[in-house]
Amino acid sequence: MRALGIDIGSRAIKLALLEDGRVLEERRVPTTFDPASQAADLMRGLRWDTIVATGYGRRLLVGPPGLRIITEIKACALGVAAALPAAKTILDIGGQDTKAIAVGDDGRVLRFEMNDRCAAGTGKFLEFMAAGLQVPVEEFGEFALEGRPGATISSMCTVFAETEAISLMAQGRKARDIALALHHSVVKRSLSMLARVGPEPPLAFCGGVALNACVRSLLQAEVGLPLLVPTRPEMMAARGAALAAAALRP
């Protein structure tokens, strides 16, 4: 039996196709301003028996018979539980949202916290700041890792944080040092959200921002808990959706 999970996120659309519980294929495209047709393109040529959609755009998919939807919170918990069964807490930083999830057996969500309409400390924040420092976002983490500690950005708001970054530039701080400070601010914000769900070790870190080496390293240093990062952290919700699909009757 083939089960398809599709995660229509704010910045990227991801899918995972499982056959009898084994990952057959994983794909990813940018969301753009036309997520529905991006998703359709992404699914082209695939066959499946059951399908579950998740993510911001979970309602945009129309057409597939038997389509079910679940939230990205549940999907992420299911995906992580399969990839890292030991994980008790999840930090998921995506394009626009940060979620802290306490998970029980079999990926059951015990509690969760999620940012409200503000996208401070998310992938979008890092993307915006990378553009400001003229560094490709994919390299922003490595770039920041070479920075020297000492500079601080205390604002969580993207606009205010940018103002602080500009002030630091005006003081002659190096772009790498400022980048490090910006990464620090993301981690600081995540920690306060984690604290509210009562984190228990080990902690799994996923979502697109888990691909960023600097956030990973700072989190590892500051969280004080064993940190687990799945091999493809950005695919966890898509895989979780596929697992939910696998549990459906075709």
Binding site: Y56, T71, E72, K74, V109, R111, F112, M114, D116
Partner: protein, 428 residues
């Protein structure tokens, strides 16, 4: 166009409303009402009355108030459940809730009060400055009350706009001193109302007022109890609407309409009929008041496949629970009874406020809720501050709780939906 509609325009013009903006407001309100309320399935017939009240909320009801004034009665407007309706009723006056619950004239508002003020306070200013609330233009006295810091400071500014604003002080501690303050303030209010109406309050008049308001509250208590049935015989949206209309409608007429609705709901429950399937996840909403037309969260919750079975809110059970004792030989004794009842309101401005948590737990059990959604308006410090310990305490007691912080804007709808759906996934 029906003749009454023409009459209302004349009335609205007389009241000094901005007719163009008011038309827009009623247009949006009517549209929202149709989408959110009229489209619901298997609504009780008893809701017809409340549909009618809503359709006439700026029309016939305002006309009734003006007719009452023409006949010599006084109309008072209030923003809070601490304004004692019993005392107003004792002088044959009418107490109505004033408009809040939607953003209006925000630019004008932010010239006078800070942007980071809670939506409820900003809304009250917006309806006033935008001249779109027929109630505030009608009333003989606006009753303000020193609850949270935002409101008490806002009344200082509102007092410069409204000539008929009366502000009462309220205690923040339920101590003997707190009780004395409330007693003194209610007595001062009683005299202010006597002066306004030119009527002396007697024990008989006050007892009559207490009985009328008690009857209204009893009807609301009955509505709350009948919702304990599974399947729920009424949607949370409709039950919220009834609680909202409680602030606008004629007390006696409202009371009999709620009782008629409850008769129908009880019969439904006896037949095992409901508006949602048996076993639908049941949610208790707790926190800030939801005035008309603030229906966003209930709409999202019920759209996501749950049913709201109680509101621990000022527009809901916190505002309506408990009765005033009707025995007492004189005005002083009856006033003591009124003070005793109002001092039990577990508003978050009180410190400490353990009764509220106990009440949430009690409602959770009584209405067989599966989880609690704690609802807060941005910048509402008392309820936001309480949301952390309340949520932690409920979770520790095994009651799943979701904290929501939002305002009257619609732009966070999808994010709220995600959180609510994820919460329901947790409950299933």
């Amino acid at each position: 166009m029906p003749a009454e509609a023409v009459d209302y325009r004349t009335m609205w013009a007389d009241l000094g409303l901005d007719l163009e903006k008011h038309d827009m407001l009623l247009g949006v309100l009517g549209q929202a009402y149709e989408t959110l309320f009229l489209s619901q399935k298997s609504r009780p017939k008893g809701m017809d009355y409340f549909n009618f009240v809503m359709s006439e909320v700026h029309g016939l009801r305002v006309k009734e108030l003006r007719d009452a004034q023409a006949a010599g009665r006084k109309v008072l407007g209030a923003f809070c459940v601490f304004a004692p309706e019993e005392i107003v009723t004792a002088v044959d006056g009418i107490l109505v809730g004033l408009c809040t619950g939607a953003d209006f004239a925000t630019e004008e508002v932010e010239k006078r009060i800070p942007r980071n003020t809670c939506a409820l306070i900003k809304s009250a200013f917006g309806f006033t400055l935008g001249r779109v609330c027929p109630y505030i233009e009608t009333v003989d006295m606006v009753v303000g009350e020193n609850t949270c810091d935002g409101k008490k400071k806002a009344y200082e500014t509102l007092g410069t706009i409204l000539p008929n604003l009366y502000v009462m002080d309220l205690p923040q501690v339920k101590s003997a001193n707190g009780r004395s303050l409330l007693r003194a303030e209610y007595e001062r209010f009683l005299h202010a109302v006597e002066d306004l109406a030119g009527v002396k309050v007697t024990a008989d008049r006050l007892r009559k007022g207490i009985r009328a308001v008690n009857a209204k509250r009893q009807a609301l208590h009955r509505l709350a109890r009948v919702r304990a049935a599974d399947p729920a015989p009424i949607s949370g949206l409709d039950a919220l609407l009834v609680n909202q209309v409680a602030f606008y409608d004629d007390t006696a007429r409202f009371t009999s309409s709620v009782n008629a609705l409850c008769d129908e709901l009880a019969a439904r429950a006896a037949r095992g009929e409901g508006v949602f399937a048996k076993g639908t996840p049941r949610i208790l909403v707790s926190g800030c008041p939801m005035a008309v037309p603030n229906w966003k969260l209930p709409w999202i919750v019920e759209g996501a496949g749950a049913v709201i079975v109680g509101e621990e809110s000022c527009v809901g059970e916190r505002g309506a629970r408990n009765l005033v004792k009707e025995d007492g030989a004189d005005v002083g004794a009856l006033l003591d009874n009124i003070v005793d009842r109002y001092l039990q309101v577990d508003c978050a401005v009180f410190t400490p406020n353990p009764d509220r948590l106990a009440h949430v737990k009690e409602m959770h059990t009584a209405y067989r809720a599966d989880g609690v959604i704690h609802y807060c308006l941005h910048f509402c410090q008392p309820y936001l501050m309480e949301s952390y310990p309340v949520a932690a305490n409920l979770e520790a007691a095994g009651i799943p709780t979701l904290r929501i912080e939002t305002d009257y804007g619609q732009e966070d709808g999808e994010q709220l939906r995600t959180r609510v759906e994820a919460f329901l996934e947790r409950l299933r």
